[in-house]
Amino acid sequence: MPMMNLAAVFAAIAQASWNRTKLFMVRDTVVLPALGFLGILLLWWGVALLRRDLMPTPWEALLSNLDFILHPFYQRGPGDLGVGWLLLASLRRVLIGFGLGAIVAIPIGFLVGMSRPMMLALNPVIQIFKPVSPLAWLPIALAIFNLADPSAIFVIFVTSLWPTIINTALGVSSVSQDYIDVARVLEMPKWRQVIKIILPASLPYIFTGLRISLGIAWLVIVAVEMLTGGIGIGFFVWDEWSRLNLSSVFLAVFIIGITGLLLDFAMGQLQAWVTHRRPVNS
């Protein structure tokens, strides 16, 4: 009987401690993040109540945005499209520009990482162009293309170049000499070393560069669209502000934020899928 009691006590302790862990998990994944958002909403609400003329309260903003939220893909004539369409237009520009950027930046990163003369030739160029706001390229792009859409894509392309080049070069140049020695002992030709050893070894770095590039590209597209106009979430922000419709701007801020988060998450998933596994530190 005492054994039974002991077992029951242990079971109760185990149950209690499991309940405690579950409680902590709920707290860490649901309660605390929700509290953060609640704080921001309360701050917004407070400011809006103190200065009624300044901005709508969250509740008013939600009500006036209901049409946008419930019908994201409406088409009510040329130029009058739901935010879903605007978002897709912006995403299209970002993905085309980012994709072209990656296609150019990854090989350049390999050249810079593998060849010292290339590094010496290209590093100053990269260091000078990297701190330039991508928006400064917009007038040049407009002069070249004479059209808003290709110019926006070009700016995103330029934006995507630098972090990807720098991180790829870093990854390529820091491939462990041990791996290279294995390839050399196996008499692997240089081009096959690039494909079978250097590329897989530097994939984590390449993806870091791509994630940074995509993040900045998503930041930049909003500003670019404000300047170029046309269809897109960035122009939506500017357009609604011109109509003094601040509620929709708040909506756009949330949409842009959530989309950026999803883009980064998708990039992370792509990395896990391509590299098959989490990056290891050995």
Partner: protein, 277 residues
């Protein structure tokens, strides 16, 4: 290019005699210091290794024994002197002189099987797909890794990683096996077990082996000759010790042999004598 690791005595005797397999002649390796002076690591090393001989290089850390092995591998170039394998000068790395690396050097994005397969694909490029698979499977079985074949290097222990390194080296059928402190990063129990396994494989299939070590017992247990290097800089071969115990060797029997302790003390005395000079 592909040649069986089994004995092939007497087939190649063009320039050197058949037993002189690897020849190292007056080998010197030096680096240039930043101030322009010369830093001599290895000074005038001469050594021959026979084609079915297990040779150990022993010496204090920094004496250049790994550098010597890397020059035989072709990963580093000698400053002066001559290195030949079967009469042909060694100028670059080659799969005929396969390395087993101290820190395993497995590619972390490939599974155990894929790591071995990569080497087989690269070197035995004329073999058919089925032959290659069979070679990989044979060598996985040889080092008892069949069950772990689809694991990634970070999912297996150090001893298992080095088994992969050994299987990868043997799978491409090198003429000579170079091992750079192959058991140095393993715990004592795993080390003893793996020494036994490697010796078993070697005793069944003798070939030229050069192993760098700083473990006197390991050198005595495994090798036919122990090459003792003096301390660097200007490291030279201080002495070469013949280990007369016949193969196959048994550790327990060796431990009962007074000669074993005599040789052991001899090597230890050599190392003590050259400590810090």
């Amino acid at each position: 290019m592909v040649k069986s690791s089994l004995q092939t005595n007497g087939i190649h005797g063009d320039r050197s005699t058949p037993t002189e397999f690897l020849v190292i002649e007056n080998l010197t390796k030096s680096y240039r210091n930043p101030d322009g002076s010369e830093f001599v690591v290895l000074d005038n090393i001469s050594l021959t290794v026979q084609e079915n001989e297990f040779v150990s290089l022993i010496g204090h850390s920094g004496c250049g024994k790994s550098t010597l092995l890397k020059m035989v591998a072709g990963l580093e170039r000698p400053t002066s002197g001559l290195l030949t394998l079967e009469g042909k000068a060694i100028r670059k790395p080659g799969a005929e002189r396969m390395m087993v690396f101290q820190h395993y050097s497995l590619l972390p994005w490939l599974t155990v099987r894929e790591n071995i397969r990569l080497a087989v694909d690269e070197v035995l490029d004329r073999a058919s797909h089925a032959e290659k698979s069979q070679i990989v499977n044979e060598h996985l079985a040889m080092v008892n890794l069949t069950a772990a074949a689809n694991k990634y290097p970070d999912e297996i222990s150090g001893g298992m990683k080095q088994r992969v390194g050994i299987a990868r080296a043997l799978a491409i059928r090198p003429k000579m096996l170079l091992m750079d402190e192959p058991f140095g990063a393993l715990d004592a129990l795993t080390r003893g077990k793996l020494q036994r396994e490697v010796l078993n494989i070697w005793e069944a299939n003798r070939q030229a082996v050069m192993m760098v070590t700083h473990d006197v017992d390991e050198a005595l247990y495994m090798s036919d000759r122990i090459v003792m290097l003096t301390n660097g800089p200007h490291a030279q071969i201080g002495e070469i010790l013949e280990v007369p115990f016949p193969h196959p060797r048994d550790r327990a029997t060796l431990r009962e042999d007074p000669l074993y302790y005599e040789l052991r003390n001899h090597v230890l005395n050599f190392l003590d004598q050259h400590f810090g000079d």
